[in-house]
Point group: C2
Chain length 251, copies 2
DNA sequence: AAATGACGTTTCTTATTAGGAAATATAGTC
DNA sequence: GACTATATTTCCTAATAAGAAACGTCATTT
């Protein structure tokens, strides 16, 4: 975790603490936080008090439990809105969701991972929603592969050198050869399929967003695998490619 | 800004910087940030570098511009989900939105202000969306007044002692007497009206969420004033009160 | 093409802040 | 009413932060 000569030791500690709170199933207390981030209780306490003063955490109860503060709702919303892509694409993606009834997700790549910027929720009662701001691997997700397929050979090599292709399901492409073949297919047909490669039971079709040879994001349609068949997929591909064109034209 | 004996000077500075970025219309650079938060450029630079390393900001360009990081999308989503209220209430509020076609907002009170936790967006093409995580005054908003009406006399006094009733529109209730009268009406009828008291052109009906005498939040229906009339309001009140009952029963 | 100006970045030294062991307080439990 | 688990305070030393000034870099002007 420690990097070169980074200023702001307290900030790095605060980040660890926030991440731990963020990743905890149930809101943790001081002792639990202190143990997990491996910083003494007094120090963690002092940081938590300042974080609370700033609105970055809120706490509850006498044996205190810490939660992420509501200010992050504001910051998160503003982070999302800072991407022109979101403002431009979401109207089209909402329309695509209405046409398909399935979840439609919008993302960009940051540090070799796909980040979910926004989404249109499925209107079906059975569905999987991705968590806003959550990340996925490029190699396993439809959106990620769609984006990766527009990288240069050098960039792809670079990515693969730095990334272990761990299986996430039994369908995950885990060899360089399989993935490169798939990327080549994607480049040809213009869309990517994730047939339960990223998450059990979930089928996705991903589309790249490219203008002037520059990839600036991607989107995907995501559905429980039991709801898809060849005809439906063909229709989603058609609708998705139209949507892609509309978004790119506006960009 | 400086409080008692708060540990973590860097955190407080980081918070100032994040707030400044958050409140800027266009993404600011180092010089602009340094001037506005009144901290020297080297210090701001070092903090920004650490914030960027943590994913709290991202930057663009050679003459750098700073934006809030995408990690806040995740944190914000998790902050929202940490409220059981959101999980319980939103299905009912989505239904209420479908019935009214207007924006339906869910909030709680934090430090004397209403915080917007989540919302169902209006389906009308002309509409005002509140910003997620944004805050409103209690005295001027329908949701705020609905909540305030369930405070004890002492709590209300306390609130009024600490709050200047500044007019936000020409209809804002700015005298203690008018507000107390209104709160008394709200207590009787069970809902609050904001007739362009909080924002130009916007009419809201607010409902408190109370269980066992304990106020735990509120919600509101919000519409452009030109779309409301007496009959519509009567219908929204009926639908809102039903929704309120459903949410409270589940809580 | 040289000069200017507007930023971002680095260096370096002193004053300030952070860190954690140990003691203490406080609440829940048996 | 003693016990246990957690939160909080104290206090001193080691580590960190802050900013003035100098420097680098890029874009624009003359």
């Amino acid at each position: 975790m420690a990097e070169k000569h980074l200023y702001g030791a307290v900030l790095l500690k605060a980040k660890e603490i926030l991440d731990f709170i963020s990743n905890s199933e149930t809101a943790p207390g001081l002792k639990e936080i202190s143990e997990h981030v491996d910083i003494s209780k007094p120090t963690v306490l002092k940081i938590l008090q300042t974080l609370e003063y700033c609105g970055f955490v809120r706490s509850d109860g006498k044996i205190k439990q810490y939660y992420l503060g509501t200010i992050f709702i504001k910051y998160g919303n503003e982070s999302t809105q800072s991407f022109n892509l979101v403002k431009i694409a979401m109207p089209f993606l909402n329309k695509l969701r209405d046409e398909t009834t399935e979840a439609v997700n919008l993302g960009i790549v940051e540090k070799d991972r796909v980040v979910l910027l926004d989404r249109a929720k499925s209107t079906n009662s059975i569905h999987f929603d991705l968590e806003l701001g959550g990340t996925m691997h490029m190699y396993s997700s439809a959106m990620g592969k769609a984006i990766l397929s527009h990288y240069s050979d050098e960039q792809i090599d670079n990515y693969l050198d730095q990334t272990a292709l761990k299986p996430l399901t039994k369908n995950t492409l885990v060899t360089r050869k399989d993935l490169l073949n798939n990327l080549s297919e994607i480049r040809n047909c213009g869309y990517a399929i994730d047939d339960i490669e990223n998450q059990e039971g979930v089928y996705c079709i991903g589309f790249p967003l490219v203008k002037n040879g520059q990839i600036f994001g991607g989107f995907s349609i995501s559905a429980p695998v039991f709801r898809v068949d060849e005809q439906i997929i063909a229709n989603w591909v058609k609708l998705g490619l139209e949507t892609e064109k509309n978004i790119v034209d506006q960009f």
